[in-house]
C-alpha cells in the first residue's frame, strides 16, 4: 500500500493555494506552510500575469499608452486612467474643461460602485454564499450598461483623453444615472439584510485578521484596508484632485481593524460614491469636453511628476519622469493592491486557512493590478 501524506504532529506541510485556486480570483499563488489547518508561514508568489506595463510606457507615446491603464485593473479601470491623464495633464500643463472633470468624477465613482459591487459578491462567495454575487452583478450590469452607452466598452474603457474625454454624455445617461441611485440604495438595504446582518457572516469576520495602524503604515496600505484600521486616509480628501473638493462626502472609517471593518468601509463607500454621483449630476456644468487649445503632440517638460488618485482599490500613484520627448522616460505605476497584498504574508500567520482566505477576500485583490 502506497502511503499518502505523512502527517506528524509537529510536522508542517506546504500547501499551494493557487496559481489556480477558487479563492485567489486570478493567478495568484500563496505558498502556505501549514500545520494541520493552521498557517505557520506564508509566502505570496505573484507575477504570473506580469505584462511589464512600465516598459510599455517607455516605448509608447503618451496617447498610445492610454489604453494600457485600463488593462491594469479590469474592475475599476477608470480610476487608473484618471491617475494617468491627471499626471500627464499636470506635466504638460493641459487645462481641462470643468465639464470634463465633472464627467470624469461621475464616471470614476460609478466605476467604483461597480467595482465594490463585484468585490462584495466575490467576497461573499469566498465565504460560501453564492446568491449575493448574483444580486451584486445585477446592479453592476446596470452600471456597465450605462458606461457602455457612453464609453463604448464594458470593462477596459479607453475613455479619458489628455485634456478631456472621448465622448460627451447625453441625457439618456443622466436619466439612467438618476434612476440608478435610488435603485442602488434599495439594493444596499437588501445586502444589509441578506449579508451584513447575517450571524454566520458576522461571526466569521469579527476579529478576523486584525491589522494595526502600524502594520498598515509599514506596508503602505490604503483604501479600506487602512480605513478599516482606523486610518482616515482617502486621497480624495487628503490630497484633493480633480473636482473632488466641490463634493460633499464622508470617508467611512472603522477602528476595529478586522475583516468586518474592511467590509463595512467598502459598503459605506458605495453610499458615499452615490452621493458624489448625485451631486455631480446636479452640478454638471455645460461646456466643451475638450480644451480649445491642446498641443498636437504631448511633450511634457523634463522633470519628475507624481499624481496619486483614490481608485476603488486604494491610493494609486503614477510617477512620470519626462525627458521632454514624446515618450515618457520612466513611468512608474504604484498599484494599491500590491501594498495591500504584501500585508498578507505577515498577517496570516497563525490563522486557519478559511480565515486566511476570508482575509484575502477582504483585501479586494485584482491580480492584474498587482502584477501590472
Amino acid at each position: 500500500m502506497s502511503s499518502p501524506i505523512q502527517l506528524q504532529p509537529d510536522e508542517t506541510f506546504v500547501l499551494n493555494v493557487g496559481p489556480q485556486h477558487p479563492a485567489t480570483h486570478g493567478v495568484l499563488r500563496v505558498k502556505m506552510e501549514m500545520n494541520g489547518e493552521y498557517i505557520v508561514n506564508a509566502e505570496t508568489v505573484i507575477g504570473y500575469i506580469h505584462r511589464m506595463h512600465e516598459k510599455m510606457g517607455e516605448n509608447k507615446t503618451y496617447p498610445q499608452y492610454l489604453m494600457n491603464l485600463s488593462r491594469m485593473d479590469y474592475l475599476g479601470a477608470l480610476g487608473y486612467s484618471h491617475g494617468h491623464v491627471l499626471v500627464v495633464e499636470k506635466a504638460a500643463g493641459i487645462e481641462v474643461p470643468e465639464r470634463a472633470e465633472y464627467i470624469r468624477a461621475i464616471m470614476v465613482e460609478l466605476n467604483r460602485v461597480a467595482s465594490h459591487l463585484f468585490w462584495f459578491g466575490a467576497f461573499v462567495m469566498d465565504l460560501g454564499g453564492f446568491s449575493p454575487l448574483m444580486y451584486a452583478l445585477q446592479d453592476r450590469e446596470y452600471i456597465l450598461d450605462m458606461l457602455e452607452a457612453v464609453t463604448g466598452s464594458r470593462l477596459t474603457y479607453c475613455y479619458f483623453r489628455f485634456g478631456g474625454l472621448y465622448n460627451d454624455i447625453d441625457d439618456d445617461f443622466i436619466d439612467a444615472a438618476r434612476r440608478f441611485i435610488p435603485r442602488m440604495r434599495k439594493s444596499l438595504i437588501k445586502y444589509d439584510k441578506l449579508v451584513t446582518g447575517n450571524i454566520i457572516f458576522r461571526k466569521r469576520l469579527e476579529g478576523n485578521a486584525l491589522l494595526s495602524k502600524e502594520t498598515c503604515r509599514k506596508y503602505g496600505a490604503s483604501s479600506a484596508v487602512a480605513r478599516g484600521s482606523g486610518i482616515n486616509f482617502d486621497v480624495r480628501k487628503n490630497e484633493p484632485y480633480s473636482v473632488y473638493p466641490d463634493f460633499d462626502f464622508d470617508v467611512p472609517v472603522y477602528h476595529e481593524g478586522d475583516s468586518l471593518a474592511r467590509y463595512m468601509v467598502r459598503m459605506e463607500e458605495m453610499e458615499q460614491s452615490l452621493r458624489i454621483i448625485e451631486q455631480g449630476l446636479d452640478k454638471l456644468p455645460d461646456g466643451p469636453i475638450m480644451p480649445k487649445k491642446k498641443p498636437k503632440l504631448i511633450k511634457p517638460p523634463a522633470g519628475d511628476y507624481y499624481q496619486a488618485v483614490e481608485t476603488a482599490r486604494g491610493s494609486f500613484g503614477v510617477r512620470l519622469v519626462s525627458d521632454g520627448t514624446k515618450t515618457p522616460y520612466r513611468l512608474k505605476l504604484r498599484s494599491p493592491t500590491y501594498s495591500n497584498m504584501h500585508l498578507f504574508d505577515e498577517s496570516c500567520r497563525g490563522m486557519m486557512i478559511m480565515d486566511a482566505l476570508a482575509f484575502m477576500g477582504s483585501l479586494d485583490l485584482v491580480i492584474p493590478e498587482i502584477d501590472r
Binding site: 499608452y65 489604453m67 441578506l194
Partner: protein, 146 residues
C-alpha cells in the same frame, strides 16, 4: 446567561431575515438574456472592431494618409494605396486589421480626419483560428455592398 440566549435569538432572527430576502427574490422574474436565442442590440457608441466608411459610390472614404496606422498603439493596421494616373487622391488598395492585437482604444477612429473609419457593432466574434481575426476591411466593405 441572558446574553447567551439573546445571541441565539438574534442569530436566528438574522437568519430568517436573510431567508426572507431570498424568498422574495425567488418570485421575481428572471433578468438574464438567453444568449444564443436572444441577443441585445448594441448601443450607438459601442466599439466593435473598426470598419471602413464608404462614400456614395460605395468606395471607401479613406485617402491613405496613414494617420490611423501611426496612432495605433499596437500596430494592428496595415494599409496601402496607389495613386492612379490623373487622380488627385490616393486610392486604398489594402486595409488589414489585425484584430488579435487590437485593444479597441479608438485611437485610429479619433485620428482619422476624413471620416473613413467607424466602429462596427460586431461582438459575436469567435473562432479557433488566429487567421480569422485578421480582417481585410476592404473585402468586408465589398461584401457588405454585395
Amino acid at each position: 446567561m441572558v446574553t447567551y440566549f439573546k445571541d441565539i435569538y438574534s442569530g436566528l432572527v438574522s437568519l430568517f431575515i436573510g431567508m426572507e430576502v431570498t424568498f422574495k427574490e425567488f418570485f421575481k422574474p428572471t433578468v438574464t438574456v438567453q444568449y444564443p436565442y436572444e441577443t441585445l442590440t448594441m448601443t450607438e457608441k459601442y466599439r466593435g472592431h473598426v470598419e471602413l466608411i464608404e462614400n456614395d459610390e460605395g468606395k471607401p472614404n479613406c485617402i491613405v494618409c496613414g494617420l490611423c496606422q501611426r496612432a495605433c498603439p499596437s500596430a494592428c493596421i496595415t494599409l496601402a494605396g496607389v495613386k492612379p494616373e490623373g487622380e488627385k487622391k490616393k486610392v486604398l488598395t489594402k486595409y488589414i486589421l489585425d484584430f488579435t492585437r487590437c485593444s479597441l482604444c479608438g485611437s485610429c477612429v479619433e485620428s482619422c480626419n476624413f471620416n473613413a473609419l467607424e466602429f462596427s457593432k460586431e461582438y459575436n466574434l469567435a473562432s479557433t483560428r488566429r487567421e480569422d481575426f485578421i480582417f481585410d476591411l476592404l473585402q468586408r466593405l465589398e461584401d457588405r455592398n454585395k
